[in-house]
């Protein structure tokens, strides 16, 4: 094991806020849609408020509970030869990318990332499955550092 799997570490705590903001936007859209549905379809029949209420509860759960949990399950590690990203609980995925197989690398900062001081490392591989592996919620300096470490290993394919 020691040779392959790297030491896993959590991402920046700021990523929780990024997730929360993202969930809030999504939740707002959800509530709006539910509200319109309520008004148009259910209110005339006297069942108004059921769907909207459910949407509000779901959105609150998404904003309050989900970000901590997602954050807690998210771990990444860069070892001698491997990049490993572990995430999810109900559907848990543990991805390993050999550094030699990486095609190219991006460091991405979206508007939310800028707001909360994080950035994502995006690793492109040649595989059709997992063609893009993302390590989100990294400090910008750390993302750049990882990019440089991985770049060292990227082999230029002969053919």
């Amino acid at each position: 094991m020691a040779a392959g799997e790297p030491h896993l570490e959590p991402v920046e705590a700021g990523y929780k806020h990024v997730l929360r903001a993202r969930m809030a936007v999504f939740g707002a859209v959800l509530i709006l849609a539910a509200f319109i549905l309520d008004r148009v379809l259910l209110a005339p029949k006297g069942h108004g408020g059921i769907v909207a209420g459910a949407a509000v509860i779901l959105a609150l759960a998404m904003i309050i509970v989900a970000p901590q949990r997602i954050y807690r399950r998210l771990r990444y590690g860069v070892g001698e030869r491997m990049l490993q990203v572990v995430r999810g609980w109900l559907f848990h995925t543990d991805t390993v990318v050999p550094l030699a197989r990486v095609q190219h690398l991006d460091v991405v900062r979206g508007p939310l990332d800028k707001l909360f001081g994080t950035s994502s490392l995006v690793v492109h591989t040649a595989g059709t499955h997992n063609s893009v592996v993302v390590v989100p919620g990294l400090a910008p300096a750390r993302a750049a550092e990882l990019r440089d470490i991985i770049r060292e290993h990227v082999q230029t394919d002969a053919d």
Binding site: T93, D94, T95, V96, A100, H129, V133, Q155, D159
Partner: protein
């Protein structure tokens, strides 16, 4: 890929146009592209506006023709010293440059019309993930077959930078794999298909009303039978014979469909070794000529079915970065072959033969019962059916049983084995598949588990291959520790 060209310092080659006969083909293409216009035309005809309809049709042909002419006028390609340049576009121009180094292969396709006219479509395969509309950019719609072969030869020789390679391999040497008429017929019989009935069903569903009869309604048959009373009496008297005759008809039609479809696609199937890859030619009406570069082969897939395997037949295809016709990433190298023929083709690729009896590691029985567990929600409608409409419950019940039974059969076959520097993954019972994947072609590996499998302690290993399916190559339901160990083994060879 289209970079501005700092030309003059290297030869870019003289501009060339598509063959003028492209106009014939292009007109067809433009007419196909008009889409909604046909609905309008049909409406005009149905509503009896014949003159207007003819006028509109003439206008469409004119527009299509002018479109084709403009496209032809504005399309130029150049074959340079190290790249192909394509300048296209009627209003917005696109200047595309494809370096020879990036061209995986040159595909030549000829439809029936093109064959009669001696022209061919040429496609430059760049092997990028460009299976969208962008891939159209590397296509020369119609040039002479001769020029197509010249360009292909040129690209290949430039790619290898080996002057020897310019010598055209004569196609008449011994092929790596070929299918004679007898083999073709056998393959056709195995491709038994009742799809034609599905097609008829669809047509009558859609157009039955317009035709004024519906062959699928009872009334239609009752009327037919009423009109032929003696036949009706015969049918009632000899029910068994009618059923038997119907079944024979189904079998004959299904087999004929299979044979016809296979002949159209695989007639003259032939794989030859060239200096950079395997060249495959096939097709009765549309003749295709595709070369798979050896270096691009990612994994081999040997597939078969229970009946086929009983007769010792298998199909070989290769996963590849370059895409086959229709944009699929599997190159079919042998539609129907014996084990030794498959090993022979693999040997041409420089691969060892597939071991007959490797040490299979079977997957956990959770593969079956987690599947059965996932079906349990369907027991609720089943229970409702049993109470309310019990004959319907028989249908749903047997469907569920068959699904679980097939999964159970598949479980016996689902296994993986390590063969020195490659992994073999065997899956499926009805659609049997054996994947041969060299370790060095694994791009990444996931271990996935969900709330059920975690409870059981199993996980799935998903291996990503370039040109494989989006879901990856899955080894399901293996104990978690074994999954980790296997992943470690598979990836350890990577430098």
């Amino acid at each position: 890929m289209s970079r501005p060209t700092p030309t003059e310092d290297r030869a870019v080659g003289g501009p060339e146009r598509l063959h003028p006969l492209f106009l014939l083909k292009g007109l067809g293409g433009s007419l196909r592209g008009l889409g909604g216009a046909y609905a309008a035309l049909a409406y005009l005809i149905v509503s009896g506006e014949w003159r207007l309809a003819m006028f509109a049709a003439a206008a469409f042909i004119l527009v299509g023709g002018v479109g084709a002419i403009l496209y032809w006028r504005r399309f130029e390609y150049r074959v340079g010293a190290s790249e192909i340049r394509i300048d296209s576009g009627i209003l917005s121009r696109r200047h595309r440059s494809i370096p020879f180094d990036r061209i995986q292969d040159v595909d030549i396709t000829q439809g029936p019309l093109a064959r009669a006219l001696g022209i061919a479509q040429v496609k430059f395969e760049t092997g990028g993930g460009s299976s969208g509309p962008q891939s159209e950019e590397g296509v020369l719609q119609a040039i002479t077959l001769e020029r197509a072969h010249e360009i292909r030869q040129l690209v290949r020789s430039r790619r290898t930078r080996d002057p020897q390679a310019i010598v055209e391999q004569s196609g008449e040497q011994h092929p790596v794999f070929a299918m004679g008429p007898k083999r073709l017929l056998t393959a056709g019989l195995f491709n038994f298909s009742l799809a034609v009935f599905a097609g008829l069903l669809g047509i009558t569903q859609t157009f039955g009303d317009a035709l004024g009869f519906d062959p699928l309604s009872q009334k239609f048959w009752r009327n037919v039978l009423a009109a032929s009373a003696p036949l009706q009496e015969f049918a009632l008297a000899h029910r068994a014979i009618v059923v038997a005759a119907g079944s024979v008809l189904l079998v004959v039609l299904g087999a004929a469909t299979g044979v016809i479809r296979t002949t159209l696609r695989d007639y003259g199937f032939r794989v030859d070794r060239t200096d950079t890859g395997l060249r495959r030619r096939r097709g009765l009406l549309t003749r295709t000529d595709v070369t798979l570069p050896l270096k691009r082969a990612q994994a081999a897939v040997v597939s078969t079915g229970p009946v086929r395997e009983a007769f010792g037949w298998k199909e070989l295809s290769l996963r590849s970065l370059a895409s086959d016709e229709g944009g699929r990433h599997a190159h079919l190298l042998a539609p129907l072959a014996r084990d030794n023929e498959i090993d022979h083709i693999l040997a041409e690729l420089g691969w060892r033969p597939i071991p007959a009896e490797p040490r299979w590691h079977h997957v956990s029985g959770a593969y079956v019962w987690t599947f059965a567990l996932a079906l349990t929600p369907l027991l609720l409608p089943l229970a409702v059916q049993v109470v309310l409409v019990w004959p319907a419950a028989l249908v749903l019940g047997s469907v569920l049983l068959v699904a679980v039974a097939l999964r159970w059969l598949a479980w016996f076959r689902t296994a993986y084995a390590l063969d020195e520097d490659r992994v073999l993954v065997r899956t499926g019972w009805w659609r049997r598949k054996l994947l041969v994947l060299p370790f060095e072609r694994i791009q990444s590996a996931d271990i996935t588990e969900n709330f059920v499998s975690r409870w059981v302690g199993t996980a799935s290993l998903r291996l990503a291959v370039a040109g494989g399916s989006v879901a990856g190559e899955i080894i399901p339901a293996i104990p978690k520790a074994a999954a980790r160990q296997l992943r470690e083994q598979l990836l350890s060879s990577q430098a």
